[in-house]
Every structure is written in structure tokens, then in C-alpha cells.
């Protein structure tokens, strides 16, 4: 059953340098309980699309058009009061850096209790009790005393656990996690991801996980959307994406995952950088960096199509890629091989047949 449906969302920032189209006609859907990943390079518009869902885009940004339906209700048409009832209650958010997301002058416990009192109308002591339970659930030892600690008395991993507890405090339907482990070391990252995975099951919460790391996606998600320059370039189940990527950008992202233990640990990155979002390339926005680009790619904008049939697909498609290769516009084929490694993960690379 569909929980969140984002249709044709466009978000722009009106900066001194020009108008930045951070999210460009973006659509996606998340089902109840689904773990949905969004992956892409820095500046792809991942955070902006996440913040838009809670209507947290601030000046000079503006949500220009589109709709964001939560259980069929358009969040963009709600009053300020109504959207505040959604925030932290039905949809909650975890930020990249827990240390800066926590207010340094209030205790961790107080910050967890706050939304519980606010949204669920719990009394002071009931909220405290629930907050302590939550701290325990997310794996903070000695939660009773830790409740009264200040953020600076927590380690980085514990801070992120506390933030997760805060996000889960009102039993949300959707948890948006924006690079929740980027600020952590690898060991802690793995633990937090496991925890997130487990808690999403336990609380029966859908997760929108944002990352620039395909490894993280593989660990947690069911479905994934690859974003480039504010647009989706590929959408697929995690298995499909890893075993059979359809977009050259996705392949490039995979090639850049460093893998330990593999015979050749090539650290390939896609040449070039993401285009300036003030003045995006014509046609396919990826063409300046694409090894398969032909003349037509500079003119014709590819929509999201079913790679098998080449027909246009909607936001809820199981499989879609936006590349002219699938609409019959390209003279040559995409020629990349994907070999699957031992760990069940794929290794992407281009090969000239």
C-alpha cells in the first residue's frame, strides 16, 4: 500500500548567482514499511527532496510545483499547524550529523521527551518513562542515568542512536534518514545501520534512506532510486540494481565503491563533476560525463522508461532508467559487464567488447 507519493516535485533556490533547480520534476513512491533508498553524488538534490517532504525548505528556496501525498493527503496544501502535526509524528527525520542536530544546552532525555509530550499529549513523567524505554531500545546502556546527560557527554555513535530514538518516539509511518552514518567511523556505521534496519521492522516504519554510498543501500534497502542533478536516472529493486544496472551513471557509482578483499580493488570514479544546477546541460544532463554519449544525447531529454520495452513509466514503476539507449535513439549499445563478487555484491566496470 502506498504511503508516500511524490509527484512532479520541483524545488528551486533563488541565490545571488542565479536560480538553482535543486530538484527537477521528481516523482517517487514509498510503500508502507518499505525501505527506500536514494543514492547520488553530492549536490544531486537528495537532502532537498527529503526536506521538501517535511516542508522544511527555507529561504531562498521554494517548492515550485508538484504534490507530496502522505496517505493521499497533500502535504503541500496543509496549513502550518497541520504540517507541524505531521513532522516528528507521522514523518520524522534523522540528520547526517547528530552532534549538530542535538541542542547542546538541553539534556538528551529532554530532547527525546519533547515531541512525545507535544504530539502524544503525554505528561512530563510519562514522556520521561517512554524516552528511557526508547533509549534502551536503541541500545544505550544505563538509559535511566543517560537520560539526564547532555549531548556532549555522548559519543558520536550514541548521539546518533539518541537521534534515532527521538525520531521513533512518536511511532512514525515514515522515517527519513539523511546520510545517518556519514559522520561515524566504519564500525559504528555498520552497527547503526543494523540497528536502523531492526528498529524499522520493530516499529513497522517505512524508511527513506539517503546516502551517496551504494554499500549502505545494499545493507538496508528494498528499493532504490539513483538521482543525478535533481532528477531520477534509475529506479529499481536493490537486487536488480546491483545485478543488472541499466544506467551508465549507476554503473559508474558502483565502480567507485571500494571493496576490500576483491582481487582488483580499483577505485574508479566517474570522470568529471556534476553540472552546475543553475545552467544544466541540454538533453540528458549526464551526457558530458557519459562514455556512451552520442550527438542525440545533447538534444533529446530522456524520460524514465522501462528498459525492457522503452515505454515511459510512472513514479511507482518497479524498474526504470532514463537513458536514450532504451528508446532506440542511440546508434550503439551500452556495453558494460557486471560481474558478481563473492559477497553477493556486483562489481561494475566498462569493457570494450
Amino acid at each position: 500500500m502506498t504511503l508516500l507519493e511524490v509527484n512532479n516535485l520541483t524545488v528551486r533556490f533563488y541565490t545571488a548567482e542565479g536560480v538553482v533547480t535543486a530538484v527537477d520534476d521528481l516523482s517517487f513512491t514509498i510503500d508502507r514499511g518499505e525501505k527506500f533508498g536514494i543514492v547520488g553524488e553530492s549536490g544531486a538534490g537528495k537532502s532537498v527532496s527529503a526536506l521538501s517532504v517535511l516542508r522544511l525548505i527555507e529561504n531562498p528556496g521554494r517548492i515550485e510545483s508538484g504534490e507530496i501525498l502522505l496517505d493521499g493527503e497533500n502535504l503541500l496544501e496543509m496549513s502550518d499547524k497541520e504540517i507541524r502535526k505531521v513532522r516528528g509524528n507521522r514523518v520524522s527525520m534523522i540528520f547526517q550529523d547528530a552532534q549538530t542536530a542535538l541542542n547542546p544546552v538541553y539534556t538528551v532525555g529532554e530532547q527525546i521527551s519533547e515531541p512525545i509530550r507535544h504530539h502524544l499529549d503525554y505528561s512530563e513523567s510519562e514522556a520521561k518513562e517512554r524516552a528511557i524505554e526508547l533509549l534502551d531500545t536503541v541500545g544505550i546502556p544505563d538509559p535511566q542515568t543517560r537520560y539526564s546527560d547532555y549531548p556532549h557527554e555522548f559519543s558520536g555513535g550514541m548521539q546518533q542512536r539518541a537521534v534515532i530514538a527521538m525520531a521513533l518516539s512518536c511511532d512514525p509511518d515514515l522515517l527519513i534518514a539523511d546520510e545517518p552514518t556519514t559522520a561515524l567511523d566504519v564500525m559504528t556505521e555498520a552497527k547503526i545501520l543494523n540497528e536502523l534496519d531492526r528498529l524499522a521492522e520493530e516499529f513497522d516504519t517505512a524508511v527513506q534512506l539517503i546516502t551517496h554510498d551504494l554499500g549502505v543501500i545494499a545493507e538496508v534497502c528494498d528499493h532504490v532510486m539513483v538521482m543525478y542533478a535533481g532528477q531520477p536516472v534509475e529506479t529499481a529493486s536493490v537486487d536488480d540494481l546491483f545485478y543488472d544496472p541499466k544506467h551508465p551513471y549507476t554503473v559508474g557509482l558502483m565502480a567507485s565503491i571500494p571493496r576490500i578483499g576483491a582481487g582488483d580493488t580499483r577505485l574508479q570514479t566517474i570522470p568529471g563533476v556534476m553540472p552546475d544546477l543553475i545552467d544544466v546541460p541540454t538533453g540528458c544532463t549526464f551526457h558530458p560525463r557519459c562514455p556512451y554519449a552520442e550527438d542525440v544525447c545533447t538534444q533529446k531529454e530522456p524520460g524514465l522508461v522501462d528498459p525492457a520495452t522503452g515505454t515511459e513509466v510512472g513514479a511507482d514503476a518497479d524498474r526504470g532508467a532514463s537513458c536514450l539507449a532504451y528508446t532506440g535513439d542511440l546508434a550503439n549499445d551500452l556495453t558494460f559487464d557486471v560481474t558478481v563478487g563473492d559477497a553477493g555484491q556486483s562489481v561494475g566496470g566498462e569493457s570494450d567488447d
Binding site: L56, G88, L102, N103, V105, P115, Y150
Partner: protein, 318 residues
Amino acid sequence: MSLRRYIIRRILVSIPVLFGVSVITFGLVHLTPGDIVDLMIGQNPDLQPGEAERLRREFGLDQPVYVQYFDWITNALQGDLGPSFSQGPETSTLLVSRLPETIALGLFGWVFAMVIAIPGGIYAAIRRGRLGDDVSRFVALAGISIPNFWLGLMLIAIFAARFGWFPVLDPQTDLLSREMLWWLILPGIAVGTASSASLMRIMRTTMAEELNKEYVTAARAKGLPERTIILKHVLRNSLISVVTVAAFITAGIVSGSVVIEVVFGWPGLGQLLIDVIHMRDVNVIMAITLFVGVAIVIANLFADIVYALLDPRIRDDY
């Protein structure tokens, strides 16, 4: 526990500060050419030269400066601030009679400064980049630029002389009575305005900075109302920086009130200080200076305590 240690430390640190203040003031007063005896001779030409020597010996002014200082500090530490050469009574009696008026004026000015500065700064920060912010910037700039004595004179001219809303002569009522407020308002505003204006700008800047921090977005994402976010989350973080500055303005208020006391004929220490400086009345000058020093030290101590109460990270450092 640790808060108490923190406070004790702060108090201990202020002792050498006060000592230093006393040495410097004493030195400066004695470096100024001429003493009270010269002034007496000037006013009373009949005085014999021998008399002058006798008077200096009587006041202890014939001793080297360090001996005089040593005598003074020994007595002062025992609570004896010495006689006033020019005013008649003992220095301590004099001080006690004038002190309440000055404290009342200073506190009123300080409270006025805070009451205007903090809400004003919050308002400007919330409206940053818009008309309200510009208006507040203009008002603050005016408040900082207008000399306090001129502001005092204008307040008297407009609200006391023209409209007759406020009395201006020496307060004729009990210091702790309600009517006293009427006497305090005009000089209080004159004393507090400049400090209030600079504090308001600092409040605005700090708050605007805090509003850009991620914990604010996180608080919004929790669904808290904007009011709670501003008055609970952002305000407390902003006050941490403002409190330190609020202690600094105490010095401005104290020095400002010397001028304002003269303008308003306020019977406090400020007016007395002007008189005794003319008379080179060392003991009284020393006593008033030290009182000012103590007031500033207390204000800073108070600020440090509030600071530690607001910011848990500070407490842990001690």
C-alpha cells in the same frame, strides 16, 4: 558540586583584580600634581606656610606614596576607609549615605537595558533582512550614537519640563517607595540607553547565527511550534553569548551614571566623585573607585554563574 567550585574559583580570581585596581587608582591620584593642602592654601591665603606642613603631616601626606598606600590598605582591609578631607564625615559614612541612590539608578538602568535589548534583539533576528530588522538597526544606531548627557537633557526638557509627566529635582521620597519609580525613570533611561542599544545588536546577531544552526531545523522537523523553537531552543543558546557582554555593559552603566547623576542632580556617588576629584580627596576617591571595581567584579561573577547555568559544557570544564 562543580558549580560551587567554579564560583569559588571566580571569587578568588577577582581578589588580585581588585588589589590591582586599588594600586593603580592610588598611584594615579598621587601622580596628579597638587594635593588637598595646596587647594586649601589657594582658597585661604591667610594660611601660614608652616600650617601647610602641619596639615600634610596630619593627613599623612608627607610620607612616601608606598607608605601611604600601605597605611591605607591596612586600614581599608579592617573596614576603615579613613576621614574625608573635604566633606567632613568619615568616608564610610559618606559612602553609605550615597550608595543606595547610585545602586538604585544603576540597577534601574541595567534592567531597562535588558528589558529593551533582549526582546528587541529577538524581534530583529526573526525579521532579519526585513523592515523590522532595518528599523531596529536604525534605532540601535541612534541609541549608541546619542551622548547620554544630551539624551538626559532632552528627556528633562520634553517629559519633565514641557509635559510635566516626571519630576526632576532631587528625589524627595523614600528610596524604596513606589513614587521613587517616577524619579528613576528618566535618569534610568538616560543611563541604560547606549548599553541597551549595543546589547540589542549583539542579541540580534547571535540569535540570527543560532537560527541557521542544524538543531533548529531538527527542532522544526520534530513538529515543535516556532514559538517554542525560538523561546526555548534558540534563546538559551543565544543568551550564552549575550550574558558575557551584559557583564561588560555594567562598566558602561557605572561610568554613564556619573554624568547622568550630575545632569539630573541625583544625590549619588557619581556627583560626590566629581566633587572629591576637584578636592583631591584621596580617601573618598579611593573608596568610590573600589566600589565601582567591586560592582564590576560582582557583575562579572554573576554573569559567569548565569553562563555556567545556561551552558552545561562550561560546567564540565571546571
